[in-house]
């Protein structure tokens, strides 16, 4: 039985003011890797005319909307990043029609091998959103209900103990989204992914699968890098079976260079923001940058242009002393730890806070792949050094530095219900950070990964924490 509601709540949708159109369309457009070009005018029209009709839930202005659009309408780089994200659905479907394999990955992993092999990697969060958006015109409530329906079909099939990312697997299994291959790195931040991938072997839809081993307790072990390098080679071969691409080392090098550049730009943006006298962009706009820089949203070439635009605009705002829309004067900066979930950024700002960073996404940006030697070895060595994936005490030391760099005044470790792997060290990291920085630190369990509503409980706790700071 469908639980999707048919009543549309009457709610005013977010709008970009027409007065900004002229200035916006004077800005550069975006050119994709295949040479296609989208003008700023087309982006504006998409965001003001097309997207609100097709995806009204994204434009819902209620506090409950976890993915609410940034209110900073004059931050044009932010608008373009949002456009790039919302329009991913169309690009992914087009790519699929053109024979490009769409690959389900893990969150928090590198994506270079997937692009090098001619595929498009998609993390569970993106697939969950995409699955909801396969039915267009949904209000926030309808979209949420559709997401829950997909989620529960997965839990029913596999386990009630699974975290919400099972919705991505269910969406694939149910044929809602056309994923060609499930091929995540394993044991990165999440233990559910291995079991969820394995669970496809018994489902009606025979889905190709491939697992990339990521050894834990890997510090100072060259054999761990050898294993990962071999695993990456096999991954590339596996994806190329779908793409038909003859993948060379140069293909991987090119994508490593893209990724190094993107991560460098994203790091630069973060340090500019953290060290600016006035925070030039709000938490929503800052929070979207790491995923863009790491995942590329289907197109590395376009991603780099976007990051450069954002970097330049942030610089210019700092020079002008502009404060991001919604940001209080001297807000209490929070640093968020844990995977997959985080507080509602706009609600944090309303309460006088600011989400200055997240360890899982900031960790992705710290990666610098050495551009010499064998590209698989270079990538393997680099990803094994992910600070987030180090032994927990070491990870906590790195977190402390990130907290200091971001000038945070408090730390919240959040984990999703059903997450065994991050929850298990939530107290340890909070305790170490608290002890060594003297800052307040806490940990909060939430149940809202991929959900838009029913987030009041966690918001109350975040607000209480902010009050305490």
């Amino acid at each position: 039985m469908s639980i999707t509601t048919t009543e549309k709540p009457i709610r005013k949708l977010f709008e970009y003011p027409e007065r900004l159109r002229e200035a916006f369309i004077q800005t550069p457009g975006i050119t994709f890797g295949n040479g296609d070009h989208v003008t700023a005018s087309e982006i504006w029209d998409y965001m003001t005319l097309e997207a609100p009709v097709r995806f009204p839930h994204s434009f819902d202005t209620s506090n409950a909307n976890q993915g609410r659009l940034s209110s900073d309408v004059e931050f044009f780089g932010g608008i373009k990043r949002t456009w790039f994200s919302i329009s991913l659905k169309d690009r992914a479907l087009r790519a699929h029609e053109n024979g490009v394999p769409l690959v389900l990955t893990q969150g928090g992993q590198t994506m270079e091998p997937y692009y090098a092999a001619g595929g498009i990697p998609l993390r569970p969060g993106l697939v969950m959103q995409w699955a909801r958006d396969m039915q267009e015109g949904l209000s926030l409530r309808e979209s949420d209900a559709r997401g829950v329906e997909i989620l529960e079909s997965g839990r029913n099939r596999v386990s009630i103990d699974a975290c919400n990312q099972i919705a991505a697997h269910a969406a694939i299994d149910n044929g809602v989204v056309p994923i060609s291959l499930v091929a995540p790195y394993l044991a990165l931040r999440c233990s559910d992914m291995a079991y969820l991938t394995e669970s496809h072997r018994n489902h009606k839809r025979k889905l190709p699968m491939h697992l990339v081993d990521f050894p834990i307790d890997q510090v100072g072990k060259p054999w761990a890098a050898d294993l990962v390098a071999t695993e990456l080679r096999k991954l590339v071969v596996r994806i190329s079976e779908f793409s038909g691409k003859n993948v060379t080392d140069d293909d991987l090098w090119q994508n490593i260079r893209y990724a190094n550049t993107a991560r460098g730009l994203a790091r630069e943006i973060h340090y500019l923001v953290w060290n600016a006298p006035e925070l030039p962009i709000n938490s929503s706009d800052l929070g979207g940058i790491p995923h863009l820089a790491n995942d590329f949203m289907g197109d590395p070439v376009a991603t780099l242009q976007l990051l450069e635009l954002i970097r330049d605009e942030v610089k210019e705002r700092i020079l002008r002393g502009v404060r991001g829309a919604g940001v209080h004067k001297d807000p209490k900066r929070l640093f968020i730890c844990g995977s997959c979930v985080g507080p509602n950024q706009q609600n944090v700002e309303r309460a006088g806070g600011y989400c200055a960073g997240r360890d899982d996404s900031w960790n992705l940006l710290t990666l610098e792949v050495e551009e010499k030697g064998d590209p698989y070895q270079a990538l393997a060595k680099s990803i094994l050094s992910y600070p987030y994936e180090q032994p927990t005490e070491k990870r906590a030391e790195w977190t402390i530095q990130a907290v200091r760099d971001s000038k945070a005044k408090g730390v919240i470790f959040m984990y999703q219900w059903g997450c065994n792997y991050q929850s298990g060290v939530s107290r340890m990291i909070s305790d170490i950070v608290k002890e060594k920085t003297g800052l307040p630190a806490t940990f909060i369990e939430v149940g809202e990964l991929g959900r838009s509503e029913a987030t009041e409980q966690s918001e109350n706790r975040v607000e209480a924490f902010l009050e305490m700071i």
């Binding site: 386990s159 009630i160 233990s191 018994n202 081993d213 050894p215 219900w417 065994n420 929850s423 369990e445």
Partner: protein
């Protein structure tokens, strides 16, 4: 009714005496390695004249609550209780452990090792385990890991591994495993003098006892069974409800499901638990080397935490089916602990696979708390009744 087997009493007595024995040995300079999980090879520990103890208990909700203060409530009760044991520091084996060895098979147990190290100041050695355990590169990685781990043990013991010592420890553990396997046959036989519950106790006595003395006791037990039990032949015996137990770990101290099944008149005849028969099977160390031990451990019955993508060639399921036939089981109770993802996520799949083979299947999803006892008992009772009726028709 008291079991007529004298050796069982001896084994129980030996377990009771063991903490004091360990204290004496430690006072004389012996070192104890407490290990947790599935793939720590005791061969290495014994070959370095260290004393292996398999740590971990279950069934105590108080310890679970205690452990939850350090690890999270989203971890399974087994690991929470382990943390509780370390927090409380009253368990004689936890207290005795000079080094805690943890393999990274179940990742929650790996996290447990991190928590123990941080909060309770224990020295912890981690052994990495490949997820892709069945591939050549996975095997190569595990060889390196085990060498590295062996190096840590050598450093800890102040001794070097020798071929002679390794050969002896390999032979000793081979003897233990094959004898336990033999006892499993005796317990499933017609009119058996030893129950599966007692057999599980015997297996778990081996977590603590001196391994040489333990093997002698096992030999003695088999000799006594040969003398006193009429047969080791196993038949279907439809007048019984022969249950096979699979799924999450059932460690020492946790007898909740077992007690319920027994109270309902069902007879448990076998298991493939990682706290029961599974670790005793298919360990074939071909040479007295660390590499050979690594290869043998990866090739044995896989743990549910290690993913495998082809249902048809999954050795865990193949072993499960083989054991069901070996023990002439009538039905399967699949026990899962809340948040034990490695086994819980496989529940529906295992049900489908085994039902296709004609085995009724019941998953019991539970924790150590007693609050769901009646609910679990009601479900189990209905299941036992169903199997009993089915057997009547079969008979």
């Amino acid at each position: 009714m008291q079991n007529p087997l004298d050796t069982l009493r001896k084994i129980r007595q030996a377990v009771e005496n063991r903490p004091a024995e360990l204290e004496t040995l430690k006072a004389a300079g012996a070192k104890v390695v407490g290990w947790i999980n599935y793939n720590v090879p005791e061969e290495l520990i014994l070959a370095l004249d260290l004393i292996p103890v398999r740590l971990g208990r279950g069934g105590d909700d108080h310890l679970v609550e205690h452990g939850s203060r350090w690890i999270s409530t989203k971890n399974c009760v087994y690991v929470r209780e382990i943390v509780g044991l370390f927090a409380e520091n009253e368990d004689p084996y936890v207290r005795a452990a000079d080094l805690v060895a943890v393999d990274a098979t179940c990742l929650q147990v790996f996290r447990t090792g991190e928590v123990i190290r941080h909060y309770f100041g224990k020295e912890v050695a981690i052994l990495g385990v490949p997820r892709n355990f069945h591939t050549p590169e996975g095997a190569q990685y595990f060889r390196h890991e085990l060498k590295h781990f062996a190096g840590k043990l050598e450093e800890f013991s102040g001794r070097k591994l020798t071929e002679e010592k390794l050969a002896a420890s390999i032979a000793l553990l081979r003897g233990i495993r094959s004898t336990l396997d033999e006892i499993y046959t005796w317990q499933a036989a017609d009119n058996a003098l030893i129950t599966w519950e007692e057999t599980l106790d015997v297996v778990q006595a081996g977590h603590f006892l001196d391994r040489t003395a333990y093997l002698e006791l096992l030999h003695e037990l088999v000799a006594e069974l040969q003398e006193k039990q009429a047969t080791d032949e196993i038949h279907d015996r439809f007048e019984e409800v022969r249950i096979f137990v699979s799924g999450s770990i059932i460690p020492p101290g946790d007898r909740k499901i077992i007690g319920i099944l027994r109270s309902l008149g069902a007879r448990i005849v076998g298991d493939d638990l990682w706290s029961g028969l599974a670790p005793q099977l298919n360990v074939d160390v071909k040479a007295p080397t660390v590499d050979a031990i690594a290869d043998a451990y990866l090739a044995r019955v896989p743990h549910g935490a290690l993913p495998y993508l082809d249902l048809e060639t999954d050795q865990r399921l193949a072993n499960l089916k083989k054991l069901l036939h070996r023990f002439h089981a009538h039905a399967v109770v699949y026990h899962t602990l809340r948040y034990c993802d490695p086994y819980t996520f496989k529940g529906n799949e295992t049900k489908q696979v085994l039902q296709a083979e004609g085995f009724p299947f019941l998953e019991l999803h539970t924790e150590y708390a007693g609050s769901d006892y009646e609910a679990v008992r009601t479900r189990a009772e209905a299941f036992v009744e169903l199997v009993r009726n089915r057997n009547l028709i079969e008979a």
